[in-house]
Symmetry: C2
Amino acid sequence: MPASVVRNLIPLQCNNCVIRHRAICGTLNGDDLTRINAIARQKKYRTGETIFYEGDEVNYLGNVVSGVVKLGKLLPDGRQQIVGLQFASDFLGRAFKGKATCQAEAATDVELCIFPRKPFESLLSDIHDLEDQLFANTLDELDAARDWLLLLGRQSAREKVAKFLLMIARRIPNIGCGSGDGEDADAICFDLPLSRADMADFLGLTIETVSRQITRLKTDELIDVEQNRTITVSSVSRLEAASGQ
Amino acid sequence: MPASVVRNLIPLQCNNCVIRHRAICGTLNGDDLTRINAIARQKKYRTGETIFYEGDEVNYLGNVVSGVVKLGKLLPDGRQQIVGLQFASDFLGRAFKGKATCQAEAATDVELCIFPRKPFESLLSDIHDLEDQLFANTLDELDAARDWLLLLGRQSAREKVAKFLLMIARRIPNIGCGSGDGEDADAICFDLPLSRADMADFLGLTIETVSRQITRLKTDELIDVEQNRTITVSSVSRLEAASGQ
DNA sequence: CGTTATGTTGATAGCCGTCAACATACGTGG
DNA sequence: CCACGTATGTTGACGGCTATCAACATAACG
């Protein structure tokens, strides 16, 4: 991860880790946990910082502890597509291949729990459970990528934005909101971790189209928007209907 | 694979297997090879037959021996997207999860070398090399899916068709063609394994747009088309330029 | 308080989808 | 072998969705 400054290298305590039960290290027992703890380090990035570029030799892998990481790909002429979003407890990096196949950038402030590649790959060989977890994780990512193929290839701008909001709502901690004034029971509130530009690059749209679709969803009273980034989904079921399933 | 008739269940001889050196069993030694050989069976499908549907319990996994398999996803209203193509030596099916996450259909006549799920998963646990191979395979598929996200999200119809033809040219056995009459040295000839409708579903386009783009590539003398399915790429480099990279 | 980044809205254009007609290839039965 | 129906592919006319260009509004920041 050459492009950025390491802000913090305090060894972590897996015992206190907020994401451990959901991350690939979640099933490790005391002994194996000690071994992975021994090589784990914390690393922080600020919003907008690049974690690595496509083609870089990346000597670390790790888990996202907090924040959101964008995985992106570029065309020679500058067109860009976000090909994945990694949230807290997601794994970042590709085992058995140092060369990054896409760019990684901090969409928000990000904390990573990183492992140097070589010792981590040794652990993968030694601890069968760990490789199984990572494998399962990769299969889930493949499923997610294929869901997104369907979205990009066959859905309208409105459906894309609706589905994106639902996806974020599921993966981002919700905010208590709209309480007390008789709102719908299945209302959900959250802060968007992505700018309109990032949303556009994720959905294969332009900034303007994303903005217009959000305005339309607001006009149609499917969502409410405060300060651009704070979204309240008034009715999840109606937004799901608008998302095409 | 419930929807179809098993045409052939003769045990295979891995020793004579044409795809073994490229498939996940390629690195296995004599003993392990015997074990996987013992559970392998051949299965054949005709063009257009469904191998399994999304949501099916699939009790087999396996390699594509010959032909091309389409992996597809459907929206409730019938819109369709092909999310992957599996060629000879590619692995078909998802380990550790019986329920299929997409539909599989024979795009051409297809031969599979299948393994019943349970014994195969046992082998995966026992033979570390095998799991590593399958894991590496899955990572490659994830990379391919992400490349396709960029294509679907950010490239024009012309670029999509050009890139598709180049992808097929790389994965399908080429035909000797155009020889002797002074054609370009880097000319390539092959038969399309997909109909225009399949290409459309793979590229997120309509049949008509695919057809028009092929006509345009022909008019621009980047390719030549005989009998709809036989493509000659006159100049690979010019087609690459048209594909956006 | 000025400057820059981010987001919204409007007018217009163009790419691709839709609808339709036609052409060609393929398969079946007479 | 031909007639017929069906599947597949092409081409044209037209329309709509989304991109582009532009102006403006608002927020963030030093």
